[in-house]
Amino acid sequence: MAEKAIGRDIAPPDLRAKITGRAKYAEDFRAEGMLFAKLLLSPMPHCRVRRIDPSAALAMEGVVDILTADDPMMPEITGVAAEAALTNEPLYEGEPVLAVAAVDETTAADAIEAIRVDFEPLPFVVDPLDSLRPGGPNARLDGNIQWREGQTREIREFKWTDDDFDAAGPDRLPMGEPQVEWNVGDVEDGFEDADLVLEETILHQSLSHHPMEPRSCMAYWQNGKLYLHGSTQSTARTHAALANRLGMDQSDVVLVAEYCGGGFGSKISSAPIMDVPAILSRKTGRPVMLRINRYEETYIGRGRPGFQSFAKMGFGNDGRVTAIDLYIVQDAGSYGSSGDFNTAGTVASLCYQPENIRFRAVSVYTNTPPRSAQRAPGGAQIVAMLEPIMDKAARELGMDRLAIRQVNAPGPDGWLGANQGTLSSCFAREALDLGAEVFGWEERTQLSATRRGTKSIGVGIGISPFVGGSRGMDGLLVIRPDGKLYIHQGIGNLGTHSIADTARAACDVLGMDWNDCEVVWGDTSRNLPWSSSQSGSQTTHAHTRANHAAALDAKGKLQEIAAGALGGSPDAYDCADGRVFQAANPGRGMTFAEAARRAIDMGGRYSGHELPDDLNPMTVASANNLAGEGLMGVSRDNYGGDGSIWSWVMGFAQVEVDVETGQIDLTEYTGVTDCGTVLHPRNLAAQIHGGAVQGFGQARSQKWVFDPQWGVAFAKRFYTARPPGILDVPLEMGWAAVGEPDPQTPVGAKGIGEPPIGAGAAAIASAVADALGGQCLCRTPLTTDVVLAALTGTEQPYRPLETHV
């Protein structure tokens, strides 16, 4: 019997293409007569375009056409704070205003320089607190927050009073009327019951996603259909979103996105900028390539929202958290409605199971680049902010820092959020125990704050949960007469290998050899099913389930076909090694190839000519195209389940902080996870480590800097935004997994994309505080100037709430 695919290290099917240069990303495609587009970006953080004079540009040889926000072919984008690809009222420096198509890129760039634009400056703001002041500037003409009440969504002006600001003073968070508030229990009771109360003002910065591949895209039209080569995390969802944006039928759009050079939440679905080559090519009748460079990617490529916040926590002598009072002012950037702040409150409640919690927040628009989900949106920020407070509490209570996490960590009956929701499974405590053992917590903490020359050693821990699944997607697969299993995946190929790893569920249900399985993905003309968006770590959970369901459907059909031909009950048949056979008499059976031929002859549901009635229309369309090609397995995931699905990573770090320079050397890191069944060990390790590396950048180096006078950005490139390089991380990192299956999902696997980043960020923040003798710096990133000021007891270079510096 074929070895099970789940749980083994198997190189993904696309790896050879990736390492030989054959893998084609969006900018690697060419088309006959292809034009190049260039963008004209706003030079101001907020302005109005009064007049555009393109005459000199259009007169230039080789310039073909121009596209502005007013072009009648541009789609109308509706919705509150919805983002069009081009605008006449830029809300941040770098927002695209218009695009020019020319025969080559240099000509297009020359044309951009020849266009005269009359911009009228408008009021702008880069610090949310400035916008909350009475009379403070609004990032948008109609207000500074997105109000939500029931189904209502509208932009409103939201201000606090002078008294709110005066009461707080310059360095504490003013806490005026919140936009959102929820309570569990009563925090005041909780603080009364507490033996220890800690209170901090904390700043978490905004930072770019910076995927390696900028969001370049190329588009052309043939016979009324749009063909678009783009860089996106998802496939089915991006396809739907793109068609919707352009007001087209999904069947008239072909999205090719076989490879994606990283997204981290910034390319979940259709980036607005995809509209530009799509419309320019429709307008010019020629293919159009829009190459996005690193500057442009920094402007339009999204960022994680920063928080200015207040946290007050009460503890009993046993370390139990009696109360959390949290107030977050979120920097919402210029568009959308990032929900990071809400998730932060939910994650705080999950991590520490407080007896009482009050969560208050306001999310304020600023004239800075648009925000979107970035790996563990809200979760990665809050654990990096609160974990050092847990350390401080442990020290003051004379407790071990791991023990205080154990005391508060949820078990399977844990709860989360305003509605006190339940969990599908939770092995957080087991992950902490395993981490302590693998990392050698007890021995290493002996080194806390000890010196090695000029280096002070710090040991830290960071716990990080995040959503790890969703339910109800579709699975679609075909056993063809060649005997192979073709697993169609509507999820994207963003580097997590989940296109292959979630397909293993189908492989194992049918007892197949993985080498006889082909994954079909990344091109919507290849008949893909409706899938989850490749975000929120849903995919592993959602699509092991969907593929499991589709494979069970196929297995049932194989059994029926075999029983019909060879006699006996379908239940008496089993599947393994590409055959369906009688369990009691394995010689009596037929190959999958034979069964596939019979399925084609039998038609109906066997060949996919009849389909279940609960499928998404996209799955139906794909299944209709595939009908008659073989034996079809197709099903919606109807397994159901209770509670939300959350995974965990516990990060353990050791640092050496140079007391003379403030330099932080990260010497050890181990991540330990509860993400259910392990699908692919080596790839799981890569997620735990890779996410942690991003977390190290978040906690230690990456930031945005805006000139407060002009509202323009400085950190626009890698060398100024400072993501971690190979010498910034430990030479070798450890990992482990609890490996307990989630009992509510057939394969038992939960997602793992999100939690590692918060674990890395929180663990290093905790370790640096430890090296500093327990000082809570309450600020990220922990740049050397911040650390050095703390070490020498001199004034911090920034005020506690100062942002974008």
Binding site: D9, I19, G62, T106, A109, F119, A686, I726, L727
Partner: protein, 211 residues
């Protein structure tokens, strides 16, 4: 409110960026424009040769002689990607920060985004497409990556692999720490450094076995 007119003209009059670049080229230095741009044949064939004298030259790429029309300010990355169809070489930053465009020139790693094609005339250029042997045998570094399941999104992979190949070819028995130093000119935003170093160590082993 004050009304201002901003005219998008980035330099002093009569001194465009392109003229500046021409000057730099005349001085024999590498260009550092705000971003590299691709000049195709469209305008040039129309008889307008603003970039100065374009040159038909022969490049030695992956052991083949390739005739190509190269403009004076064209970077090697652009020539490889847009004129020779060698899109394995990636552009992540356009300006010598990320290493995704790393290629070998006479066996030495270079950022092809920061080399002018005219600088490499007569020299041996090797790209990611040239590592695999014609019979499909992978270079030991590529095999090592296959063995270790390296890289996630892999947009950085061609650059890392080229850096790794040049290093392990010249440094038998290199340690993990030495490999990290050698790869420090390449950026991976997926943060897959641990697995990249596992692959590098495996590559050192495979090179030893081959030697």
């Amino acid at each position: 409110m004050t009304e201002v007119e901003i005219i998008r003209d980035r330099g002093p009059r009569n001194y465009s960026r392109r003229k500046f670049i021409k000057g730099v080229i005349a001085a024999g230095a590498t260009v550092s424009a705000s971003s590299y741009l691709f000049r195709g044949p469209g305008v040039l064939t129309a008889g307008q040769a603003r970039g100065g004298v374009e040159r038909l030259m022969t490049l030695t790429v992956n052991g083949q002689q390739r005739r190509v029309d190269v403009l004076p300010y064209e970077t090697l990355a652009m020539t490889l990607r847009y004129k020779l169809g060698l899109t394995g070489t990636k552009l992540g930053c356009d300006r010598a920060e990320c290493g995704a465009c790393t290629v070998h020139i006479d066996g030495v790693t270079h950022y092809s985004c920061s080399m002018l094609t005219h600088q490499v005339r007569g020299r041996e250029i090797r790209t990611i497409e040239g590592l695999e042997s014609p019979d499909g045998e992978l270079h030991p570094v590529q095999q090592a990556v296959m063995d270790e399941g390296g890289f996630q999104c892999a947009f950085c992979a061609p650059g890392f692999i080229m850096s790794m190949a040049a290093f392990v070819e010249d440094n038998p028995g290199a340690s993990r720490a030495q490999c990290a130093q050698a790869l420090s000119g390449n950026l991976c935003r997926c943060g897959d450094y641990n697995k990249i170093l596992d692959s590098a160590e495996r590559a050192v082993e495979l090179m030893d076995q081959r030697a």
